[in-house]
Amino acid sequence: MEALMAVCIGVLTACGVYLMLRARTFPVVMGLMLLGYAVNLFLFAMGRLATEAPAVIGRAESHADPLPQALVLTAIVIGFAMTAYVVILVIRARKTLNHDYVDDRVNERAHGAPEKSQGTRS
């Protein structure tokens, strides 16, 4: 079970990192979500993996560590909120920047100078 879990976390992380390195907004958001799943699984596994062990004392012969499960719940909620925000930001960026590159300067190189920017940029 440990090996399966490790492979799952590894594959999710690898896919997440690959997608993030695409540097286009939609793949990056997908990559961040995959990385988030991998991290949540990892956090869960830190309470040690066990079967037929509920997180309540006295219900079975052994019991699982409830704390990582609570932490994962918190992390999932936070991750959900962050994903919601980042999706909105990306849609806004697509509208404002007229392209979906994460780096605004990529567009400059590909299509010449950008239209008049509304603020100073260093």
Binding site: G47, M82, A93, T96, L97, T120, R121, S122
Partner: protein
């Protein structure tokens, strides 16, 4: 009641933010005084806590009466009280500056500011590693929204980098916290410090990895060299008062390095003592050099100040890597000084932007600011930031150099050259903005920016110098506790449920 004072810096902004959000449709004429009132109240609470902490006794607030190491504790010592005050002092002028009209350019500024303060205060107070992560997220999500406040191409582009980087950082943070929990079975930082010190030899490598991951996250928030490239664009594009508030944001990473690293990987940590210290030393010096280059190459005042933030980060973390109590005292002084003065100068930049028409704060010959008050404020702020006597920057740098001693010749050279370069950069900026071109005639469409908030922050530099003796005594005691945290650990673990 006075025992519950400790949780007020978190509850007060939460309540104020929630009320402001409930009435988000209300007129700004209502929201501005409410926000200002909450900020002033927070400043009062923070000052009361500072007085309380100055006695030297560590106060522990046991949430839900779960005795440590179970449950979450809030810990108030000199260090967290200091940072609470530094933050609360910033909040009042930032609110005033935004209330002059910039808060009209977006939505819900006042609620966002309160949530930002809640996250900051929580991060400074918490004694629990996972809770630190949660408060980091609270302050980050508020800062994401504040950074794009007002919209525009530069802000959206800079904000995307900031958000993506920080989301990856959060993932790394959870991995590090998870690893440390897996190794020690606790999240209470004081308890974890004790267990890490007696870790079995086969687990040391894992703990080392976790510690370096934590350091990576904090270095990214603090904008250390390879991870800090998001900072200049983000700070230079944000609305000036918001950039002023963000002066404390990069300091949160530095606070976390001092606090978490000092507790978990300090001198008492056995095999893990001094983890990553040499690495940070070189990276900090690199950040210093890069920041100086950026200052010299900046093309607008806000960009110049953003690079100046990087210089101060490099200086602070180099001071941290020196690792002696005297160096940490100097670094803490420099931290307070650079936060307040950078914020003051960002507010000056806001005034410049509002008065120079389309040139904004760019270094081009256009309109000059004819007002002597703005010029004087710029001069005072620049003198302090460069580190010339008689203002606080000089004291901060002198303390750091004195603590470094003559053995660290490289640090001396870099810090002094950085001062010279800052002098050049600020001189060039000042002469362009205040002397060259026609006197400015503000556009009627420009959002007004008052000078009053600047005058609330600038005199603090003089205060830091004039009240140097009590302040340095306080900071010296703070550095001692950070260096040898055994008393803090005992106080946290000794706190009994129901004791508060």
């Amino acid at each position: 009641m006075s025992a519950h004072l400790l949780i007020l810096p978190i509850l007060l902004p939460l309540l104020a933010g929630a009320v402001l959000l409930l009435f988000s449709g209300a007129r700004l004429a209502w929201k501005r005084p409410l926000n200002l009132f909450a900020c002033v109240l927070l400043l009062g609470v923070a000052l009361a806590l500072l007085v309380k902490a100055a006695g030297g006794e560590t106060q522990v607030y046991v949430l839900g009466d779960w005795a440590p190491p179970f449950g979450i504790v809030l810990v108030l010592d000199r260090f967290s009280a200091l940072l609470l005050v530094v933050t609360a002092v910033l909040a009042v002028p930032v609110t005033l500056a935004m209330s002059a009209g910039t808060d009209r350019t977006g939505q819900n500024f006042h609620a966002l500011l309160q949530f930002q303060l809640m996250g900051l205060n929580g991060a400074f107070l918490t004694g629990d590693l996972f809770n630190l992560f949660v408060f980091f997220e609270v302050l980050l999500i508020a800062s994401y929204a504040l950074l794009v406040f007002g919209g525009g191409r530069a802000r959206v582009a800079a904000s995307m980098h900031y958000v993506f980087l920080n989301l990856v950082g959060s993932a790394v943070f959870i991995i590090a916290v998870g690893l440390l929990y897996g190794l020690t079975g606790t999240l209470n930082m004081a308890d974890m410090a004790q267990r890490l010190a007696t870790l079995p030899a086969e687990d040391v490598a894992l703990a080392r990895a976790a510690g370096l991951l934590l350091l990576l996250v904090f270095a990214m928030k603090a904008a250390l060299l390879p991870l800090g490239m998001w900072l200049p664009a983000a700070y230079a594009s944000a609305a000036a008062p918001i950039a002023a508030l963000f002066a404390i944001m990069s300091k949160v990473g530095i606070y976390a390095i001092f606090r978490v690293h000092g507790l978990l990987f300090g001198d008492h940590a056995g095999a893990l003592a001094g983890l990553g210290q040499t690495l940070i030393w070189w990276l900090a010096l690199g950040t210093l050099v890069l920041g100086v280059c950026g200052m010299l190459g900046a093309r607008s005042l806000r960009s110049l100040l953003a690079w100046q933030v990087m210089v101060s980060v490099g200086t602070l973390l180099a001071g941290w890597s020196l690792g002696t109590a005297a160096a940490w005292r100097g670094a803490l002084f420099y931290l307070v000084h650079s936060t307040w003065l950078t914020a003051a100068m960002f507010l000056v930049a806001g005034v410049v932007v509002s008065r120079r028409g389309i040139a904004e704060d760019g270094f081009m010959i256009s309109q000059r600011i004819a007002s002597p008050a703005v010029g004087l404020a710029f001069l005072a702020g620049a003198v302090a930031l460069i580190g010339l006597p008689p203002l606080s920057g000089f004291v901060g740098k002198a303390l750091l150099l004195q603590a470094a001693g003559t053995a660290e010749a490289l640090f001396w050279i870099l810090l002094l050259v950085a001062g010279l370069a800052a002098l050049l950069a600020f001189t060039r900026a000042g002469s362009t903005l205040f002397w060259r071109g026609e006197p400015s005639t503000p556009r009627s469409s420009a959002v007004p920016m008052p000078m009053a908030p600047v005058w609330m922050l600038l005199p603090l530099s003089l205060l830091l110098v004039l009240a140097g003796d009590p302040i340095l005594t306080y900071l010296g005691a703070t550095a001692e506790v950070l260096k040898t945290p055994q008393a803090l650990i005992d106080a946290v673990l000794g706190a009994r449920a129901g004791g508060s």
